[in-house]
């Protein structure tokens, strides 16, 4: 496969993309011209304004198809690759048993107003996700799923009570970047409540997160959509019960 690709419509290399947007102008010939101009500036050439519809007197909605002139260089793509070994449930349990010598405690929930526990449940509930059982299934992992709309102070308190090794937070439905705001609040609260050496590992997940942003948001790891319970369990083992203890046990709880 070539390292340079273009979007695929129905022919290799045709570069075809579709996009839709709204301009704050009344619908007329000039509006369609304006849409075509925007598309060209976005790199679509030729751009076809295939649909334009007035939305009230002051706005017009457009659907545009066109070939993009841009190329994608796969060698320059940056993603967060898995930097820990993927373990099966048996290996996870064995690692915790031999290296941590006590159950690994996980507290999880949805924070903010999000009532959608589908993400956290997929990771934590026995039922699991994508054919993998959730963390509750792991004999050596003690799971406290607090459910929906947990306040951050409650999450801190429960983490303290249960001596949690890791806190898992899911944010599915979000408005106006609420998930980012909530995550920063989460990080600040835990950093305030725990000394660095005793702070639980902070892990957030949800479809709207950018996996690169963990450091910026002050958490240890971000998992995007499609993450399976096995990946999360493997990561927790990697960080909390590593094969060779890290030089500086930043996230190990003094036991």
């Amino acid at each position: 496969m070539s390292d340079v690709v273009r979007p695929y419509g129905d022919t290799t290399g045709d570069g075809m993309v579709q996009l839709s947007f709204t301009l704050p102008i009344p619908h007329d010939k000039r509006a369609e011209g304006a849409a075509a101009q925007l598309a060209r500036k976005m790199g679509l050439d030729p751009a076809m304004v295939v649909h334009a519809k007035a939305m009230g007197p002051d706005f017009t909605f457009f659907v545009v198809y066109g070939a993009v002139s841009h190329l994608v260089d796969l060698r320059e793509v940056e993603v967060v690759e898995r930097d820990y070994p993927l373990l099966g449930p048996k290996e996870v349990n064995a690692a915790i048993k031999t290296r941590l010598r006590r159950p690994l405690v996980v507290v999880g929930g949805c924070i903010g107003t999000d009532a959608h526990t589908v993400g956290i449940d997929a990771i934590l509930n026995i039922k699991g996700f994508a054919g993998e059982k959730g963390l509750e299934y792991y004999a050596e992992i003690e799971v406290h799923n607090l459910g929906a709309q947990v306040s951050i102070p409650d999450l801190v308190e429960r983490s303290r009570q249960t001596r949690a090794d890791a806190v898992l937070v899911s944010q599915v439905v979000t408005q106006k970047d609420a998930h980012l705001h909530n995550t920063r609040e989460l990080s600040a609260a835990f950093r305030e409540a725990f000394p660095a050496s005793r702070r639980p590992l902070l892990v957030v997940g949800g479809p709207r997160f950018d996996e690169h942003q963990a450091t910026a948001l002050g958490v240890d790891r971000i998992f995007g959509k499609g993450t399976t319970p096995g990946e999360v369990a493997s990561y927790l083992v990697h960080r909390i019960a590593p094969a060779t203890p890290p030089a500086s046990p930043e996230h190990r709880r003094a036991s």
Binding site: F61, H116, G147, T174, K176
Partner: protein, 529 residues
Amino acid sequence: MSRIPTAAQQLALDPATVRRARALARKVGGPVVRIAKAHTTVSVERATLRLAGLAGADVEGIPWANRLVDVVRDQVGLEHGVALPVWDAMARSGDDLTVLAQKAAAGSVTFRVPDAGAARTAARRARSAVAQGFRRIDRNRRTREKLIGRYGDPPTPWVYLIVATGDIYEDIPQAQAAAREGADVIAVIRSTGQSLLDYVPEGATREGYAGTYATQENFRLMRAALDDTSKELRRYVRLTNYASGLCMPEIATLAGLERLDMMLNDSMYGILFRDINPIRTFVDQRFSRAVHARAGIIINTGEDNYLTTADAVEAAHTVTVSQLLNEYFAKEAGLADWQLGLGHAFEVDPELPDSFRLELAHALLARALFPDAPLKWMPPTKHMTGDVFRGYLLDAFFNLAGELTGQGILLVGMMTEAVVTPWLSDRDLALQNVRYVRNAAGNLREDFRPAPDGFIATRARAVLGEAVELLERIAADRGNAPLLTAIGDGTFGLMKRPADAGRGLDGVVRKAPGYLNPALDLLAEGATR
């Protein structure tokens, strides 16, 4: 139309089972009503003061209603209600309510629980003051009826759209635009976290978080704007807000005072999803529902929320149980069938075979059990993946199920659910979706008959059976309030909420003999003076 068999007939529901379900809901709900009647809360007492005209806040933004109730509570407790000590103090000082609240906050008022003649004077004056609030609520109800009489009501399902910018002055043009595009009902979503504030913010607000604060002034501004739009469109556009959280009674009161038309008001949502104390919730809810009944407001219950946490097939019967309980509590508080926007949602996993038939079964069951209630039909959220094209298709099936099963209030689904706050174009596309389905299949109900022993009717009967079983299990508990035990055990939405925990518990007070609340009296009597 009258020749169409009722939904109950179509599903061949056993009338005895339906009666049994209602009897069990009454049996389970009754003890909770007794507990609610035996207690008051800080918010019920503040709502009483607001009915008497107490408004405004101190320099820190804490409402005078909170200040006054807090001082009275510190000095003499709330066991006798706030009315007797407050109107007794007013009779002695000659101050009006606002001045009294200001002086009390400054620490210069000594309250007492009056007796004999002083108590009679205080009770009479309190009643007369609170009655003014109810007369305003009554006038608003008549105004609404007059406007609806003039313009007529839109066909059902009413199209329900949400605005939520955080800034009331941005919300207004968006709401007016949504109404012009076809919305029959505008809901202004509240700012994140308002339900956990133990006071109602004051004034017009421009900074909310993922929603706009519910305040009396915001209510007034939005209702006035929609009155203008109703006149322009010659169609009465209803306004909705949220009577939930720690200030449920006060928000309900402000809604009545400012002629809001619908309020979200669930009997258990705050307990389960906001971890608000169960007793606090049931006391506040009973007061707020009595106010809604008086104000002619339609309530919307929150059963859709259960399906965001639990599986929509496995937990279908918990929705039915909650609807039955919401109906029982609503009627006990004085609401009529036409005011019960009982909730449910289109949340069955679309990957499941026959998912649409399951949705139809659940929706028809709700229609069959509550034939005179304007059911609130909520769009898919849980299985919206970010694939907006698939989301648009799901929303069309949701709209079709709504038309086919005679839902009363249809919250319009957005294909960008779980992606962004709806864009202008999302709303426009969503309304096109509704219009297409209505135009193409709005009358399909006339031809649609589920086979009596087919998949849909069988499934509906099975869900009803499971609901009755669950109610029987709850009722079998020997404690003094089996429903509270069930809520504590995680029966609903899988969340465990014990009766002696949760937010707002410190605002609950057991009534003493001689407790007086003129608002409750005026509500019970339907009196205006």
